[in-house]
């Protein structure tokens, strides 16, 4: 299958400050991609370069197999067949909701325009608000109008710049699911930029984690959590600690908490000092275990407790335990390891 978006070795800089370095990724038609990273990592710049708002220093961008940006070449944003949802929604305050949605349909005939606007009002649940003006809507409603407006011309690629950032957590989750359903229903190819991993997991088929202008890893949410490619991804996605270990065989390492077996062969030679990633769900609370640790802090998560434990060597780990195991701070509890995915980093 040919891809809908290809980014090849993209370099972008603001003056002397290079904000993107050798960024490459692709997106298949109908897929929802996500660029995930901390603020200032360059993720919004990628989106703006795709839209044609930022010139490109090196590399190239292809939308639907057509080159739209390179170091010597830049098609104007209005000719790229894209739709974009902005962080502040950028609804036009002088136009009604219906006129906002119809704004991008200038080449359609009036009847087609009306049908499409009505269709989108229905999809986004805004049928009652067609004649309302943006300032009369709540944040969630404005977000839906922004989505409808960007989707209306059926763009080849929909770009979303932190579209849920101004909302509270419950609304975010709900809207993220809604948006995913709508995008799938319309069979749109879309790319989302966010700093919120839960949002990324909820909406995207494929996630690029970015830091310092580089793509650190491109994978599914599941793999980013369980098989992070480097320490940055390990720390950025989910919780966990990195503890010292020694390679024991081609498939196992030894830690203070015992031996961990991996499914894949280990590159390093036996005896090498390495670090391993231990997620809270890798540490099992077990009263029968000979290994013990002291509870130094805990937080109640409802179904589970997240325990902060210190072992005798001083190394601290996290442990996720069902909440009927209610232990006090400074209590000594038994733990054992049950690691599904062994993640090893070279010692630095």
């Amino acid at each position: 299958m040919t891809s809908q978006l290809d980014i090849e070795n993209l370099d972008v800089s603001y003056g002397d400050n290079q904000v993107l370095r050798q960024v490459s990724f692709s997106l298949q038609p109908g897929n929802i991609g996500c660029i995930l990273g901390p603020s200032g990592c360059g993720k919004t710049t990628v989106l703006r370069a795709i839209a044609g708002f930022e010139p490109v220093l090196g590399g190239r961008i292809l939308i639907n197999q057509v080159e739209v940006s390179s170091s010597i070449f830049c098609i104007a944003p209005e000719k790229r067949d894209i739709g974009m949802i902005f962080q502040d929604f950028a609804l036009f305050p002088h136009l009604s909701v219906a006129d906002n949605i119809g704004f991008g349909l200038k080449t359609w005939n009036v009847r087609q325009q009306q049908t499409r606007v009505r269709e989108l009002l229905a999809i986004t649940g805004m049928l009652a608000y067609g004649q309302a003006y943006p300032h009369q809507l709540s944040g969630g409603q404005q977000q839906r109008v922004a989505l409808a407006r960007a989707m209306a011309p059926r763009p080849g690629l929909l770009l979303m710049d932190e579209p849920f950032s101004g909302m509270d957590i419950d609304l975010r989750k709900q809207l993220a699911r809604e948006v995913r359903n709508i995008l799938k229903q319309e069979k749109l190819t879309a790319i989302l930029v966010t700093h919120d991993q839960h949002e990324a997991f909820a909406i995207a088929d494929n996630i690029c984690v970015m830091d310092e202008g580089r793509i650190q890893q491109q994978d599914s949410g599941y793999n980013l959590y369980h098989q992070p490619a480097n320490r940055f991804v390990a720390n950025f996605i989910g919780q966990g600690v990195i503890i010292p270990a020694t390679v024991e065989s081609s498939h196992s390492v030894r830690t203070e908490l015992g031996c961990i077996q991996g499914k894949l062969p280990i590159d390093s030679e036996t005896g090498t000092a390495v670090d391993v990633l231990i997620r809270p769900d890798d540490v099992i609370h077990d009263d029968n275990s000979s290994e013990t640790a002291i509870v130094i802090d805990k937080s109640f998560l409802g179904a589970d407790f997240l325990y902060y434990l210190r072992m005798d060597s001083g190394i601290e780990v996290l442990c996720l335990a069902p909440s009927h195991h209610n232990h006090k701070i400074n209590e000594r509890i038994g733990i054992r390891l049950d690691v599904d995915h062994l993640v090893i980093f070279d010692r630095i």
């Binding site: 839209a51 044609g52 708002f53 080159e67 010597i72 070449f73 830049c74 098609i75 104007a76 944003p77 209005e78 000719k79 790229r80 894209i82 739709g83 974009m84 902005f86 962080q87 502040d88 929604f89 950028a90 036009f92 305050p93 002088h94 704004f103 991008g104 200038k106 080449t107 407006r149 960007a150 011309p153 770009l159």
Partner: protein, 561 residues
């Protein structure tokens, strides 16, 4: 491949045009900023020039008086505007009493009343021959010298006149500051044991202080700029001193030197104002707003609040406006003749053309800032926008000196080379008048246009672009409808300001060219107060338009909503 190469050619052309545009836009803005700074730079340069005999004479005789009178006037107006402005702002923002809704906007009405007009009106009413003293004499049978009556045409009188029309600056900014304060802050102070009054003194007032100081500096800038009132009252302050030195002693250098000293005071105020405005922004500690709690006033307290708000409105607007109306009813049949109509047309034409120029320049500056986003451009626009603080008298002197130099130099050169005398090309023309207006009022149009442009976020441009609209289409479909209001506002405010302007027009106008303001001033100076009322009333009536706009906008807006 064919498609791509065509596109890339198109891109190169577009790229070149935009570079070309930037290539002249930025230098254009810098040049314009420089040209509009010439008057102020000219005056400032006189600070450094050696002083002549006339200057020494001024120092020996009147300079101390000018300094003392200006200081007393500023101090008095400062106290007056502060007490009226802050009291009314507090009452109309955080208290509930009968008539409050009306006072909220009506307290702005005195803004429409130029100080020199209120000064003639009160002089006419309270002078020895005026209706009030005549009435007293009729009732009591006293004669001249039998009783004490405060002299309107005095320093104290000027302080009262200026305070009555300038307090709205303090009122406006203080009220906005009180309203913008998060209710949480006030409620926190209540939970920490402050009652209503101590929460005002300990929390609300200190929080609003930067805004109040900013409003006060604006009022004081107007005080220092006033010429009409002080001249009519015969007071020796800087603005009148500049006139006397220029036209009485005929020494432009000494006049410019006086202007330079006045400029120092003005710049101090500008610095204070900008600093306070910056501080005011830091005072927003939260973005949560709710309907502010209102202190319900009843009985005697409500009456006091009512009277406290009524008095400034009564004396600052209602009374003088009614007096003008009465006079105008008596005299308009005589006063409205062909020359009056010509004068009105002059004023309208001058006001309109200046307003259109000011708005075009404002668009040039404001879009330049948006498109170029360069520090140099930001600084230039800031420099241009300082003109609002500079008194018309200073600007007039600062315009006339370089223009005269230009005319004389050109004339000398042409005579020398071609034996042609070009005479005075620019001095004493409408060009000079309009240039001075632009120096003073560009800030007003820039501010209005910029606030309109700020509402069109860059993302809206980008949204339109991403939906297939070219830049020109974006300008037409998005900017035009959204900018209409602020452009019209800018036109209106500049028009009204030009109409009210007195000292610069007096100095720079071509021979025999009059405006309504000049005519009103001349008639009043000839003690024909009733005759001046028709012109004065027209100025006030037109001046009401922007005040109404302003009161509508403050009625409909509140932070956080």
């Amino acid at each position: 491949m064919q498609g791509i190469s065509e596109n890339s050619l198109g891109w190169v052309i577009r790229y070149r045009t935009s570079e070309l545009l930037k290539g002249w836009w930025q230098p254009g803005i810098l040049l314009a900023a420089l040209i509009f700074s010439i008057p102020v730079l000219t005056i400032a340069s006189f600070l450094l020039q050696p002083s002549g005999d006339v200057w020494q004479h001024l120092v020996d005789t009147v300079l101390t008086d000018y300094l003392i009178n200006s200081a007393l006037l500023t101090l008095g107006v400062g106290l007056g505007t502060l007490s009226i402005g802050v009291t009314c702002a507090w009452l109309t923002s955080l208290c509930q009493f009968p008539g409050k809704k009306l006072f909220i906007w009506a307290l702005l009405l005195p803004l429409a009343m130029p100080a020199y007009i209120i000064a003639y009106t009160y002089t006419g009413m309270f002078d020895f021959a005026g209706p009030v003293q005549t009435l007293i004499r009729d009732w009591t049978g006293w004669g001249y010298g039998d009783y004490y009556f405060p002299e309107v045409r005095s320093l104290g009188g000027a302080i009262v006149m200026l305070s009555l029309v300038l307090y709205p600056y303090v009122y406006l900014l203080a009220r906005a500051a009180f309203l913008e304060q998060s209710v949480c802050v006030i409620e926190v102070s209540r939970t920490l044991g402050c009652n209503a009054w101590s929460s005002f003194y300990r929390v609300a007032l200190p929080l609003a202080r930067p805004a109040i100081v900013a409003g006060l500096s604006l009022a004081l800038m107007e005080t220092l700029a006033d010429y009409g009132t002080v001249s009519y009252f015969g007071l020796g302050v800087f603005t009148t001193g500049i006139f006397r030195t220029w036209f009485g002693l005929g020494d432009s250098a000494a006049a410019a030197k006086l202007a330079a000293i006045l400029l120092l005071f003005v710049f101090t105020l500008i610095v204070i104002e900008r600093w306070s405005r910056n501080r005011a922004q830091y005072h927003h500690t939260t973005n949560r707003y709710r309907q502010l709690p209102q202190f319900q006033l009843t009985g005697f307290r409500a009456l006091i609040a009512f009277v406290a708000c009524l008095l400034p409105l009564l004396f600052g607007f209602l009374l003088p406006a009614s007096q003008l109306g009465l006079w105008a009813l008596d005299t308009y049949t005589v006063m409205v003749d062909a020359s009056f109509i010509r004068l009105t047309l002059n004023t309208i034409l001058l006001g309109l053309s200046t307003a259109v120029l000011a708005v075009l320049l404002a668009l040039f500056f404001a879009y330049g800032k948006r498109v170029l986003a360069s520090k140099l451009v930001f600084a230039s626009v800031r420099v241009v926008a300082t003109g609002y603080a500079v008194p018309g008298t200073i600007i007039a002197v600062g315009v006339i000196i370089p223009l005269a130099w230009f005319d004389n130099t050109l004339d000398a050169y042409m005579r020398d080379q071609f034996e042609i005398s070009t005479g005075l090309l620019l001095s004493g023309t409408l060009f000079a008048v309009m240039f001075a207006y632009l120096v003073r009022f560009l800030a007003v149009s820039i501010q209005s246009v910029e606030s309109g442009l700020a509402k069109i976020r860059l993302s809206m441009d980008e949204a339109a672009r991403s939906m297939g609209y070219k830049p020109a289409e974006t300008l037409f479909r998005i900017h035009l409808p959204l900018m209409k209001g602020s452009v019209l506002t800018a036109l209106l405010i500049v028009f009204v300001d030009v109409m009210k302007e007195l000292p610069a027009t007096l100095i720079l106008r071509p021979f025999n060219f009059n405006t309504l303001a000049v005519r009103a001033f001349e008639l009043a100076s000839d003690e024909r107060l009733a005759d001046s009322s028709t012109a004065a009333l027209m100025i006030v009536a037109v001046g009401l338009l922007p005040v109404i706009l302003l009161s509508k906008s403050i009625a409909s807006s509140r932070a956080g909503s």
